[in-house]
Symmetry: C2
Subunit: 111 residues, 2 copies
């Protein structure tokens, strides 16, 4: 996408899948919780307020997308952010959204 020639269908599919992995609030919440360092499933359940089954599923999705890493230690499984570009992605989106909201607020307030 950075180059002049268009991406292949397969590449577009991969990019779309990556964005899709980030397109769920609960998964973003998990990622957010993991910005401070690795956590176990139970800790993530507590941090996000979701059910254990649902959290486990989302963690699987994020791990399969190579966004999180998985480390087993005894009974517990610890997840951590594996792709450092995720933080920048979220920063970019947040910044863009802030601009939009500011503009909308300005449009409402400024007449």
């Amino acid at each position: 996408m950075a180059k002049k020639n268009p991406l292949s269908d397969e590449a577009l599919e991969l990019v779309a899948r990556r964005f899709a992995a980030l397109a769920e609030p609960m998964r973003l919440r998990l990622i957010q919780a993991l910005f401070d360092g690795e956590l176990s499933v139970n800790e993530l359940v507590a941090a996000t307020g979701g059910t254990q089954a649902n959290i486990s599923r989302h963690l699987q999705t994020l791990t399969q997308a190579h966004i999180l890493s998985r480390r087993k230690e005894g009974l517990q499984v610890f997840y951590a952010i594996a792709d450092p570009s995720i933080a920048k992605l979220c920063e970019l989106v947040c910044g863009s959204l802030e601009k939009q909201l500011t503009r909308q607020a300005g449009a409402l307030g400024g007449g």
Copy 2:
């Protein structure tokens, strides 16, 4: 997400929606086609190979997400990229994917 304090549920929803807008190959193809400048719906239909109805719907999705802008001129409607951060987003994802694929290929080839 760049800050220490977690985002609100509403903010997470907004971020997720933004990622979701980019989570479809056909929409990525449209964005890709528009990197070179604005195009009409018909031109985008020709460029992507989709049906007119489908393209129109995707364009609506991208416009509602404030990713594209819409300009009407006579019978035609021209769409253009409205959010400059989209290019960087796609670059980031593509770069990350390339690293992953390279690593996987290396793992396969190197034993």
